[in-house]
Symmetry: C2
Subunit: 292 residues, 2 copies
């Protein structure tokens, strides 16, 4: 299936802002795959085709409740000796997402994007376990980290998520997003926190890529607010970005690969945001008068 961190991210973020994808692909990533992105307004100029190479490959399986993924096979392939060469347009990006790949590669890209006002990264247990020092250095160079809650616990050695997020903030970032699979996501900033449940679905076909679709909705929406002159650190803006991230992730899991998100309209996205509000809303004022 068409997939990969940057592809899932781009197809979600395009509803909100202009997206440029940077990364290497092999011969197996053909013109049809490129067209899927091009036709939806994603700029693919910095996708580098490596002749004779094979695209990064991940295979895993999910537990019974589809909430926990186990990696069976990771092949870096063309990422193995990739040296990112960014166009001037990509170097000038004001918002940057470093998808899940070797942390040293993330650092190289971060270093050349000097205009980025807000940079975020995703990672995974493989890098926590095998390249911890590089990952910690990469985390120190971004404003925002998106990780699964179990990975935040693993990285910080702290079983309590709120404390683990605080430890992660001490490494540098001001915004921590804990992804919790079907249970939703939580947001931590120095002063506040926020939690949102997952959108409940009767048909979940494939959770692969949901975290990247979340990141695309989250950062894409933040960038639209940044362009409009708002602060991406405003808590109300971040909260709505969390909701849009959840909405895009919920569409992602409805079908395999990028099948659902690539056919999606912005109207459907906004309608689900309203549905999501309806199924999570409650009155905070006590009624009737408290018993004495």
């Amino acid at each position: 299936m068409l997939g990969g961190s940057a592809v899932h991210f781009a197809l979600a973020a395009r509803f909100f802002t202009d997206v440029r994808v940077v990364g290497p692909v092999g011969d197996d990533f053909g013109d049809d795959e490129l067209a899927t992105l091009d036709q939806r307004g994603v700029v693919t100029d910095d996708i580098e085709r490596v002749n004779g190479g094979e695209t990064f490959f991940w295979r895993g399986h999910y537990e019974y409740d589809m909430n926990v993924a186990h990696t069976d096979d990771t092949q870096l392939n063309v990422f193995g000796d990739f040296d990112p060469k960014l166009s001037d347009a990509s170097r000038g990006a004001q918002m940057l997402f470093l998808g899940n790949i070797q942390p040293d590669l993330q650092r190289k890209v971060r270093a050349v994007c000097r205009e980025a006002e807000f940079a975020a990264l995703d990672s995974m247990n493989l890098w926590i376990e095998e390249e911890r020092d590089s990952l910690v250095a990469a985390i120190g160079e971004v404003d925002c980290v998106l990780l699964n809650d179990a990975e935040i616990r693993e990285l910080t050695g702290q079983p309590n998520l709120a404390r683990a997020a605080r430890s992660l903030m001490e490494m540098g970032p001001r915004v921590i997003v804990a992804k919790r699979g079907e249970y939703g996501a939580a947001l931590f900033t120095p002063d506040e926190f926020f939690a949102i449940p997952g959108y409940l679905l009767e048909d979940v076909r494939d959770p692969t890529g949901a975290g990247d679709s979340f990141a695309g909705g989250f950062l894409g929406y933040l960038d639209s607010r940044r362009s409009a002159g708002d602060s991406v650190l405003d808590h109300a803006v971040l909260r709505q970005a969390m909701a849009y991230g959840s909405v895009l992730a919920s569409f992602n899991v409805e079908d395999f690969g990028t099948e659902r998100v690539q056919e999606l309209s912005r109207d459907e996205v906004d309608q689900r945001l309203r549905d999501f509000k309806r199924i999570t809303d409650f009155e905070a004022e006590p009624a009737p008068t408290p018993k004495v």
Copy 2:
């Protein structure tokens, strides 16, 4: 520690309504334990002291993230041959909670409480695995079931929670509450669903009893609305009950046994409800104008 389903439940529900506890205790449940309930307005007339008996006992351990409990030891003790004898006042209850115990005992109590307009039950994997037929019969006789999400999946053989809840509704109840530990809870009715994340805490000392405190907040609040003439099946009422249940569960886990909830005031409960609203709220209207 003082604990047990009915005790956790009663100490949470007392903030909203009058609570009567029914159940057997052993010699190890002394005057101090009774006084803890009495002094907080919980009616203990139907707590039956069994001379020479020992109170129901549960011991377990929690996984690293304190989200999954494993049972090490369950001793029914005085529940082994308990034959519930309810006072007229208890038989006349209009709202009934059947705490987690053998389903046949739950059915006996359900049968004598003929005035109950709304009855709910909790259960656990032990009864799903060892007394499934009795449990299914008990579920068919109540209006509401509260279970962990993994138990709902186990009972119905359905990995998707929304579908599993629908299967459970086909057994009789109109209201299904899926408890999700630190991740919060979800509510299913024939027409709607609702999800709420857990209240994020930096200090979680003991999750034991959190589900019963949730049930106490949820059903206690529903009963206060019932007394005020509202329908307990109104979705806005149910949603606020879910929020109160979550609030009481969040206080429960802050200390061992009933230490925190027994010292709690209604003001603290209502203040946390407002905090909870603040940390889960987001704007549903898109801003700025969608990119075309």
